[in-house]
Amino acid sequence: MRWKVAAVRRTEPFAPASVADGNVPGVRIVVCVKHVPDIQSDRSLGATCRTVRDGGDGTLNELDENALEAALSLVEAAGEGEVVVLTVGPDDAVDAVRKGLQMGADEAVHVVDDAIAGSDAIGTARVLAAAIRHLGGADLVVTGMAGLDGLTSVVPSALAALLDVPALPLAAELVLDGSTVRVTRHLDRVTEVLEADLPALVSVTDQANEPRYPNFKGIMAARKKPVTTLALADLGLDADQVGEAGARTEVLEAAPRPVREDRVLVHDTGDAGVRLAAYLVENQLV
């Protein structure tokens, strides 16, 4: 495992959530996850240009498993704290938070409301921010690096901005040292080390860790853990602030890409390299 976890040394509480709670002396982490169509399935956009999400091929976004693993590892290393797994989505999306509970999260929250359908990335971030506030805040919010459906990867930074906490995105390594969180991230041509004081938001990459598989004990324990269902009204959000009504963008058209024609398949009998070179020259690719 590449995961690096320093000892969590907390001498005084630093976020209102934990102070108010009193029962949980450790760090309180909210992990935001998404229920997405399985990328191995035939994914499609429906008549309203929205992702078809009722195909029965839904799953916890794989990249969010890294976020859950990160949160669980931090709490385990600290020996105290709690992990809340949060999702926004239709009825089926509850499967995503259940998987989080099976992996070891302590409680789950599912925001479901018909008015949320058609939200863009900013609308989704708005619902997540309102839900986190409703839950009393968090010391640390952890997300995956992107949803494997839209791949917009804008939600983490928008969510941090809405919560007014520092954002440390794309952590390949993460260290929580007292009330300071430090990440190492590898970008195109650049490696950066960023740090901030809690409360903060971190997104983790798929390089950060190897997510655990839920074991039998975890699956059994998850059945007894609470799943709270919330609607927009619970969060103090109006329907026109989210969903299609509140979206700043509108998908006009969606169509499957045509299958490429004139495809060539060569079985090498000794001259395939020469034929490849000829193909590149003929098609003006060199």
């Binding site: 990328i39 992107a146 990867s153 954002a167 004139d262 079985h267 395939a272 490849l276 020259v281």
Partner: protein, 324 residues
């Protein structure tokens, strides 16, 4: 419609990143002038760079100067929000990089702008901005309209051919000081290490990318040889980077680098869906794999069932011969 701000990503020597030229080409076809935004991070635009921007049709170069580090996404967003207000521009175009997409998220919250990422076209149609993009690992195409007065859009490299403006202009260069509020300073940049420049082109903007996968068994020599003959970049699959055969920065895929070169050559690449998500928008796809059932053959324009260790060197030798 008012002007467009184009974020001028640049190297430490002050030269433009190649995809910036595409942004300017796209912006020129929108109503309003094209204004460049230069983040003053130590590297300054050389006279040659300013002249090149003039040939591309950039009327202004706004140097963003801040008392904090503009490499932090929230700070860059604050700077762009300031410039949007000062110039009356309504659109920010940036290259689709992780850093720019982070800044886009912050800017959207700070300014109310709509965000569209990873697009391959932006046009002005029926009095609004419309962006085209492919989704679901390149299997669907969509067009998205902006409904708000302000927008920030990130564009994938290799989306459009670069053209010069009909008439060159002389860009006006001016400074814009950005006052960063205390919130922005909460993210501390402890360390920033730029990797040394390679002789090969950048992966994201290269016109040709040769990618090695599991089938290389760790020997990238034939992949590198073919890439060099073609003047291309070298990429890798997740398996190859996880095995440590090549650095993680070379990983092509949904969680690594997304590429859309004119020519993609996959050597020993099976074509797992994670990988396809990062390359399926490529112009021409060539695959060399010893397994005839490898899924990459389903999307290859030219497929070779064979041993990459003989096919690649033979192709490289033939290309050298044809070049003379």
């Amino acid at each position: 419609m008012s002007d467009t701000l184009v974020l001028l990503d640049h190297a430490t020597d002050g030269s433009l990143r190649a995809p910036v030229r595409e942004l300017v080409t796209i912006a020129r076809d929108l109503p309003g002038a094209v204004r460049g935004v230069w983040v003053a991070d130590g590297a300054e635009p050389s006279p040659a760079t300013i002249a090149e921007l003039g040939v591309l049709g950039v009327t202004h170069v706004h140097r963003l100067v801040a008392d904090g580090d503009l490499h932090v996404a929230a700070a860059l967003a604050a700077g762009l929000a300031t410039l949007l207000a000062e110039t009356g521009a309504h659109l920010v175009l940036a290259v689709s990089t992780f850093e720019n997409k982070e800044a886009a998220g912050h800017l959207a919250v700070a300014s109310g702008a709509a965000v569209v990422t990873d697009v391959d076209s932006v046009v002005w149609s029926d009095e609004r901005l419309v962006a085209g993009k492919t989704v679901f690992a390149g299997t669907w195409t969509t067009s998205t309209a902006v409904r708000t007065p302000l927008a920030v859009i990130t564009v994938k490299p290799n989306s459009v051919p670069v053209t010069d403006a009909p008439e060159p202009v002389t860009p006006q260069v001016g400074d814009h000081a950005v006052a960063l509020d205390a919130g922005v300073g909460r993210v501390r940049l402890v360390e920033r290490t730029e990797q040394p420049a390679s002789d090969r082109p950048d992966l994201t903007s290269a016109h040709v990318v040769v990618v090695g996968g599991r089938g290389t068994e760790g020997d990238f020599s034939s992949v590198e040889e073919l890439a060099d003959v073609l003047g291309g970049a070298v990429g890798a699959t997740r398996v190859a980077t996880d095995e440590g055969w090549i650095g993680h920065e070379a990983q092509i895929g949904q969680t690594g680098v997304t590429i859309s070169p004119r020519l993609y050559i996959g050597a020993g690449v099976s074509g797992a869906v994670h990988h396809r998500g990062g390359m399926q928008a490529s112009g021409t796809i060539v695959a060399v794999n010893s397994d005839p059932d490898a899924p990459i053959f389903e999307i290859a324009d030219f497929g070779v069932v064979g041993d990459l260790r003989t096919v690649l060197p033979q192709a490289a030798a033939e290309l050298r011969r044809l070049k003379g």
